[in-house]
Symmetry: D2
Subunit: 334 residues, 4 copies
């Protein structure tokens, strides 16, 4: 799924062009159009359709400026290291390297300065390339609105319950027999990822943030868009109205740099009592805005509670990787 | 919907028999079979099918021992008062009287002794009957597992996010256009109810419990069964294993009295990593058991987090009302 | 729903501009933004949002060139007559006047010449305006591919089973309790409409077509897009391959006239074995193309069987009405 | 899925007891409870849970009276032959042997006498056991109501469009990404099976029936229960009322023999305008009755059209196999 979103989002990209597609051995040598079970309601871009699939090695891929990785976690670790050693900059959606201390989990609007870790990779690992990772899709939707809250009010504790879309599990992913008329209250390793990644992203390059995060993750019968109920205890006193304003005015370097994939507003605040809703709001900012609503006083933690929505395969995966790559390019990492 | 569950659950009840059905004016005088848009996958009991619908007044209903009310909240208040004044005991699923200081919100296993409030009603209001209410369906699923936790460990704070079934909104209720491929992150007045009712139930008859509750309520595309992600900060130190044992061994007066509708186990603990699931677990104990799973350490509140599931129209509505009525009968309130 | 699609599709229309919005009494005098429960995943056009709702009478609406009607059938009959008498051309999505002998059921690509019936209306009814209707949404998706088949091979019998989207029932429409994990094998009056309208459309202005149609209509849990399994017995011998070519090359006057809302191809033929699918194909041609697939030999009627898909609120309602209006304008009916 | 229904339905069977469970190599030697991903909302029977899985060979299975096969088609053919040769009677839900001329496709109520083909198997193939197959699940729901129509009115042509449940594709089967908000208008080889099997079942043991059948098969988002829109052209004149009576009074040998799994009524006729519905009606007769509704005049074929519903994993698979086995036992084939 994420690979297809990459292909679709890069179709008319002003800076990047897909010049090679790599996949597992059984696909190598065949055309992309033959091996991709295309699931999007738009046509496959014809130039990529004709590309011959290569093996995921520096030799197979050949002369490119940048590698996007949406590999399964069990193979991503080694493959990405090989590319970084061989001088490629890898922007990865896989989790293999996320918690490496010298690899940034990057959300360009949130922790852009963490890209300096690439220099540490090059120094310590003697790589000429480098690896930058995306957070887990459910982390992204959480970390973006937490950023301005942390800066303005300080954060002590965050409690989050997710209602995640089936596309987050890839294809074929969740069986229809499991999810029709049902909720699955478990996603393997998701809670641990959300808890650790959020702190790494919102901390300094060398040290995770000091507040506490607890997550409960659930799969529901939506196609796209992770919805999250978030409860935040702040260091300083908060009112829903001021938090709303803080979120609304949030803007960051990618917006100032007018990066091609940066949404006009990283956070869109809705004031209706029943929004955000996955189907109605997930494509806000072409799927790159996180939509926040129901900002209200919290009666247990003394802070605020809110509902956030992020498009999991766009803002939470391919779209963010492309935005991060744009940021790396501007910062001259490749 | 709830009216139909009442009719179905009372079909073969050993103590109670439906002898009158009351509804709004436009139904009066017609047979139940004609006015009920029967939605259950079993046949309508033939004796009730033949009953002529009467008006919801003491005069209309005539000589009965007990009145179950599943009226809309906007009419329930006055109608139930009329019955109580006229000497009837009313067991109500409506919210109108729940927060009256002399009306118990009763879960027979949790706060049986609160029935003493009926005597206060009779004394202060000069009623010869009385009113006992059910909690909101999402409150019931929460309050039952909190009871043994409160007794064993003490509770400081509870944070709960719900994923509620569409049957909770009645029929026709939630439009399919609103819920297919979607989640609605808002249910009118639901969060306020959960927060206030939980404390009233878990307090003494005269005073709500002293801990804090914060809820975020969401509607998902399940037919029956409210799933809730619960985070609990306890007064005393807790381990998931001991909480699990505490919940498993929980049993109360209705179980000891072997009330006909009391489940063998009010709480069923599942140890699998992906349970409870609404479709697979909602009928546990004929829909009267609350199913709890994923009991694990919470990293933000320092207590435990768990997932609970309660069948909203059975344990959360008609079934609980019947159980409460059985309890009231044993306690000789009618 | 259909009203909202009208507003959305007319937002940037090159020829038409929404200058008045009429609705039932309880909405009159309020802004459109206040009374419309907006259900689309894009923003409400701001100019229409500000319009004050008027009553659906010539006096209320005032000076406009054309009236689109998406009124409920029970009021549409009289209201549309009033407008036609008062000199307005009405393009209606309601069924009230469809079977009037002097009112065309128009699909611009299929039976454009039927617009001559307007002259009969003016002559016989002494109207200065006129009424043109859309077919029922399920009829449109059927009649478009039948047109070239009828011309090329002749038709003796058509058997069609539909799998219709919930948006076809309006909002709130189908209850989620009725459609989750279910199919409803009945849509009031739908089969009769499909059978009669198809013949009226495919006949001459004065006489329905002479073949036979039988329909079975079912509601399934899709949001948009009516899928139909169609079996056709032809007068002349047919091969799936030739039928496929006949459908693919079909083009009509709206395409030649390059009407703004006419899709490049009224019929898109898919050759994959598992297409068309509602979610993947309904937006083909911006929702204005009918997508046909699985064209294969039929073993019972000796003709072909095929699967067709039409977007019910676009091609089957608002979009077709706009296309028909464009056609009427070019033909100088207003 | 079907294996689990077998285990569940045989739990309290008066004649049969599960004494061995065979599965593919990677499961052999482990307990059934460990290898079955149990998907039913009731508990796994504890005696079967403890069985050690054996290999699907006569040697592995050992001394049993009867073998139920729900093997994948690609292995069923050879395995079932081995058992039949070794003297076992095999009742199979796989399609491998269905179209063998000496293997009956059996529906005990429809073509009981076809069991005589076992004698032909024994004579020609020198088997001491034998193979009896189930039809495809969608065929069963069609063939049962066609049987009394054929006998009473004669049949010339049948046209059927199916709306099939996801459980028909096994587990994990249909991806949720494919079916939420969607219909898939294709099920591999399903149409060919329905067309050929229906005629074989409704013919004599040696010759298929002479009428024509054409099918269009579609997957919809229901969990269980295949719904089918059926159009029938009869040899003799038909009225919906008389067809309704013919179907209602249908009863056959399994009912007269009071076989344990035979439903009281093989066909239940519903007179409501919107029934049968999969969720409400699939468990009729414990899932063993086919429910028929909407019997009405057909305007294209001059016969009747109707909607039929059969529970695909019970009446269409495990339940039918058990019923067929009961029939074989009474007929002394084992």
């Amino acid at each position: 799924m994420v690979g297809q979103i990459f292909v679709e989002m890069l179709k008319d990209h002003p800076w990047f062009k897909v010049s090679a597609v790599a996949a597992s051995e059984r696909c190598v040598g065949r055309k992309y159009a033959e091996v991709a079970r295309w699931r999007l309601p738009v046509c496959m871009p014809s130039d990529v359709a004709e590309l011959e699939v290569v093996e995921p090695t520096p030799k197979g891929v050949g002369n490119v400026d940048l590698v996007f990785s949406a590999l399964p976690n069990e193979v991503a670790g080694r493959v990405e290291t090989d590319f970084a050693e061989a001088g490629y900059v890898v922007v990865s959606d896989a989790s293999s390297h996320r918690m490496d201390s010298d690899v940034p989990i990057l959300i360009a609007e949130v922790n852009g300065p963490h890209v300096c870790l690439i220099e540490e990779q090059r120094r310590k690992r003697r790589w000429s390339g480098g690896i930058v990772t995306n957070p887990n899709c459910s982390t992204t939707a959480l970390a973006i609105p937490l950023k301005p809250i942390l800066e303005e009010y300080g954060i002590e504790r965050v409690i989050v319950s997710t209602m995640q879309a089936v596309s987050g599990a890839g294809y074929p992913g969740v069986a229809s027999l499991d999810i029709i008329d049902n909720v699955i209250p478990f996603i393997p390793r998701e809670e641990e990822k959300m808890e650790a990644e959020t702190l790494k992203i919102l901390g300094s390059p060398s040290k995770p943030a000091g507040f506490k995060v607890s997550a409960s993750c659930h799969r529901v019968a939506t196609l796209d868009g992770h919805l999250e109920a978030v409860f935040v205890e702040c260091t300083r006193e908060t009112e829903p109205e001021s938090v709303s304003k803080t979120l609304e005015k949030f803007s960051a370097e990618p917006q100032r740099l007018k990066l091609p994939t940066a949404p006009l507003k990283p956070i869109v605040v809705r004031s209706e009592e029943d929004r955000p809703q996955p189907r109605l709001d997930r494509m806000e900012g072409k799927g790159m805005s996180v939509v926040v609503g129901r900002i209200r006083q919290d009666s247990a933690l003394g802070g605020v509670k809110l509902v956030v929505l992020g498009h999991n395969t766009i803002r939470g995966a391919a779209g963010l990787a492309i935005l991060n790559a744009e940021y790396l390019k501007v910062k001259k990492y490749f």
